[in-house]
Amino acid sequence: MEAFTTHTGRAVPLRRSNVDTDQIIPAVWLKQVSRTGFEKGLFAAWREDPSFVLNNPAYEGASILVSGPDFGTGSSREHAVWALQQYGFRVVISPRFGDIFRNNATKMGLLPVVLPEDVVGRLQDAAEADPKTEITVDLVERQVRSGDLVVPFEIDDYTRWRLMEGLDDIGLTLRHADAIEAYENGRQPWLPTTV
């Protein structure tokens, strides 16, 4: 995964709550067996509406999505993260995320940033008033900056380190293969196997 330290870009204000993963990428797109090409399915149903914010040319090339609360709820489909990234987003800002989406995002290097509702509202206002408004998301300092707005955000040390290094989780876990084996030797004898 691509390392993430700090990112500056323009923002798309998405004034909706409960943006479930079925909206981010509808089920028909999930039939693909590859990992690419999902940008075309991003918000596919909503994009049919010419007034939908992603259809506004002023936001072309924006890389930060600023959404209302409960972004990424619902289905566990990681395709939602792939679609956002492949479309060009590096950060999603929302007052609250679905747990699975948030996990998936950090595995892939898409940064989910939780900010209070009023701050999200101000960022959306700014991006609406002037689509050229730039936002800096600084993972090193755990800070979001835009104009004279400077707000901290929380992220645990481990996830931050992993994102900053661009590290693959599996490689990290396999370093503990001995601990896994030791645990396996002590598992309860009645636990089922599928064979």
Binding site: R15, S17, T73, I100, Q188
Partner: protein, 461 residues
């Protein structure tokens, strides 16, 4: 200080704990289906890795499968299913393909085989993995990167979620089901109410639920935003498990039961959050909007956005009513539907089909009605009881097992503007097909609705 059920099960599975790092959690059972696994297997191949414990892994085909006999017509769906077959064969994973007696929706077959047991950790690349928590397991949905991680290591790095108790006081009135209970809970706490928590459902009404009912409740924990839902195991759980193909036998059974009996929240344990709900005042519940929190008693009316103080909720209600084509003040009972769907991992088990059959016996449906067993095992059991004859006589369609109309990935879909009463779990925009409008209901309400063509409770018939 005492520990909660979730804490006990979690602690039992910690492989490694280090300061400032997530716990490394051992996974006892990994369920796989065709949609969220292909890229994970690709990842393994790319890195030259293998599946660490194929013997703790099981796969089925469910999301893409048509529910009428015959091959998959859509070439893209077919490729996805064939990819799973190839991967299962290559990595030595047990697979229940279409047409196999063991095939079915992934969350139906785990419990059916007795693979889902108390105190286990269970994951699947599917958010409704929470279903298995009904047995007192920690069970949660994961994304494809994590599927790959579990395949390669049989573990997951994870922080222990916070704990939340939902105390259900009193008893459910006659005619009020587990589905009504969970819809009422979600309407109360909201779609983000459980975020970051493992919910434990407790109280008299929960203890009295059958295993099927408990699975319905835990299934929709994700719709309340929770990481997982759990119910402490008890005699109901043990009775359900006894004699199932993968349940422990003989001495191992006694050992297991002795351990399972310790899997309850200690009296002095403290939850991070507690919510109470009174079961005795509940009535059949339905959703009117486009998220599962937008629900109301069937006896009420379509709400007006002005009723919501919170501006975000108000805007969501406005948008939902527009999408659903509903006018505030309309009695919910006046809403006409085009299709009724009974099935899914929420309500596709034998007990659900029995409940629907009881209402449809000797009656006729006036809408397109799809009855889809959650697994081939459920189908066989239902047919042994003659339920399929009741459905067919009523004019409903009796189908093969699969996810069917729960999501628009297979041929069972709504057309734009069509409205359904559905026993599934998600009423998101387009979930059952582009432009489709979904009202989530219990199997009982679904069956009664099929008879009248309007949202109806059995008591109204």
């Amino acid at each position: 200080m005492g520990r909660t059920l979730a804490e006990k099960v979690w602690e039992q599975h910690v492989v490694r704990r280090a300061d400032g790092e997530p716990d490394l959690l051992y996974i006892d059972l990994h369920l796989i289906h065709e949609v969220t696994s292909p890229q994970a297997f690709d990842g393994l191949r790319l890195n030259g890795r293998t599946v660490r414990r194929p013997d703790l892994t099981i796969a089925t085909e469910d999301h893409n499968v048509p529910t009428v006999l015959g091959p998959i017509a859509d070439p893209v769906s077919r490729t996805q299913v064939e990819t799973l077959r190839k991967n299962a064969a290559e990595f030595g994973i047990r697979l229940h393909p279409m047409g196999d007696a063991g095939q079915g929706v992934v969350h139906i077959i785990g419990p059916q085989f007795g693979l889902t047991q108390p105190g286990m950790t269970i994951v699947c690349g599917d958010s409704h993995t929470s279903t298995h928590g009904a047995f007192g397991a920690i069970a949660f949905g994961i994304g494809t990167s994590e599927v790959e991680h579990v395949l390669a290591t049989q573990t997951l790095p994870a922080y222990r979620p916070k704990t939340m108790a939902i105390e259900v006081k009193g008893e459910l009135p006659v005619g009020v089901t587990a589905k009504d209970l969970i819809l009422a809970i979600i309407a109360k706490i909201g779609t983000g109410g459980g975020q970051g928590h493992i919910v434990e459902y407790r109280g008299e009404a929960v203890r009295k639920l059958s295993m099927e009912g408990r699975m319905t409740v835990c299934n929709m924990s994700i719709e309340a935003g929770a990481r997982a839902g759990m119910i402490a195991p008890d005699e109901t759980t043990f009775e359900y498990l006894r004699g199932r193909p993968h349940a422990p036998k003989g001495e191992a059974w006694d050992q297991a039961v002795a351990y399972w009996k310790t899997l309850r929240t200690d009296d002095d344990a403290v939850f991070d959050k507690v919510v109470e709900i009174d079961a005795s005042t509940l009535t059949p519940y339905v959703t009117w909007g486009t998220n599962p929190g937008q629900g109301a008693p069937l006896g009420s009316t379509v709400p007006s956005p002005e009723q919501f103080d919170d501006p975000v909720e108000r805007a969501a209600a406005e948008r939902a009513l527009e999408y659903m084509g509903l006018t505030p003040g309309t009695p919910l009972r006046d809403i006409r539907v085009d299709t009724v769907f009974v099935g899914s991992c929420t309500n596709g088990r034998l007990e659900d089909l029995r409940a629907a059959a009881e209402i449809l016996r000797g009656r006729k449906v006036v809408t397109r009605t799809l009855i889809v067993p959650g697994s081939m095992g459920v189908k066989k059991a239902a047919e042994e009881e003659g339920l399929h004859e009741i459905f067919k006589a009523a004019g409903a369609e009796w189908r093969e097992a699969g996810c069917s109309m729960c999501l628009g990935m297979n041929p069972d879909t709504l057309k734009p503007g069509e409205r359904s009463a559905s026993t599934s779990n998600r009423n998101f925009e387009g979930r059952q097909g582009k432009g489709g409008r979904t009202h989530l209901v219990s199997p009982q309400v679904a069956a009664a609705t099929a008879v009248t063509g309007r949202l109806t409770a059995p008591a109204d018939l």
